[in-house]
Symmetry: C2
Subunit: 203 residues, 2 copies
């Protein structure tokens, strides 16, 4: 996983005002991201919106990009909630909804924009990998529970199933600009889950 210290200078007085300033700046940056997107982000506007002087931002972060990076590290770790309805299909539909709302919010979009626009940045790569690996590691229990219930074969790879759903949702939202309706979710979950039932043992 990626740590705060790796991109930020160490501070000798991280508490009190500094902490408030950081929170205000990150909050402002996220709002700006949501409103204007990363490409037209400016330190001046983040400063104005957060009520912090731009000099401070330049001194602590150095650039608007690093503010966004910091915001990603700060908030990106809040994962999706893991549903547990007792039914694999329903769990996956819930997860799909979470993914959909997660990627449309400013942080999710910023992460996507960063990854696309900065294909060679190792920091971004590690950030993305860390984020999704963690998400899928947590979410695979959805499938593991279904295996335990005997609803699907034990050979099924939970990570793959979950990633498949996330990928479909991501693509629809990002690339197709489509709505993620419950009907559509049920459809893709249905075709994904289809044929996973364990073979009937005859002996």
């Amino acid at each position: 996983m990626l740590h705060y210290d790796e991109i930020m200078p160490s501070m000798k007085r991280p508490g009190g005002r500094s902490a408030r300033v950081r929170a205000a700046v990150l909050e402002g940056a996220v709002l700006e991201l949501g409103e204007f997107g990363w490409r037209s982000l400016s330190v001046d506007r983040i400063a104005a919106r957060s009520g912090v002087h731009k000099t401070t931002i330049y001194r602590r972060w150095g650039s608007a990009d690093r503010v966004v990076l910091d915001a990603l590290l700060d908030r990106g770790s809040e994962g999706f909630p893991i549903p547990d309805t007792g039914d694999l299909g329903e769990d996956l539909v819930c997860l799909g909804r979470s993914v959909a709302s997660g990627i449309t919010d400013p942080i999710g979009r910023a992460l996507a924009a960063a990854i696309i626009d900065e294909p060679d940045s190792p920091t971004i790569s590690r950030l993305a990998d860390a984020f999704w690996s963690q998400q899928f590691e947590e979410a695979r229990v959805i499938v593991d529970r279904a295996i335990k219930r005997g609803d699907v074969a034990s050979s099924v790879d939970g990570g793959q199933i979950v990633e498949s759903i996330a990928a479909r949702v991501w693509f629809r939202v990002m690339m197709r600009r489509g709505e993620v309706t419950d009907m559509w979710l049920e459809e893709i979950v249905g075709s994904t889950v289809e044929g996973l039932s364990p073979a009937v043992e005859r002996d």
Copy 2:
């Protein structure tokens, strides 16, 4: 579909020099995109690289963004080649490879960046929708042929299958920064195609 005229001023002498200028500028823009990404694109550098004066670019396109948009319209319509190997799985693996290489080229990345960073632009939305709709409409014949061969049930939606593969590839490249190996492609194609065979008719 989106037309050139919708974003570009009509010219009274579109041939000869004007056409050469446009080609040079779009080519330069694509090279710049590949090297620096959209976020750090500048009219000055496009002008320098294409050997066209920056005034001309400002007069004809107005901004670097519109140059990129024009480039997308100009080249984005070149679709993926549609494979025809006689086997559904193999066709889909080929298609996956095309999608993967399509993403990494500058135009694909620019389109992705545009879509993500400009969620409210109707022009971008229509461009994206037109692009993908066309791709999937063309690619669904892969599945239709398999249906005709009797390899899969006629109820299967070719568009969904194709989109599913494209989505997995995009997600892997963009979000996970993973390699798209043949082995991985065969794996996801396998799990997608699994269970599509027509029920054996008994009469």
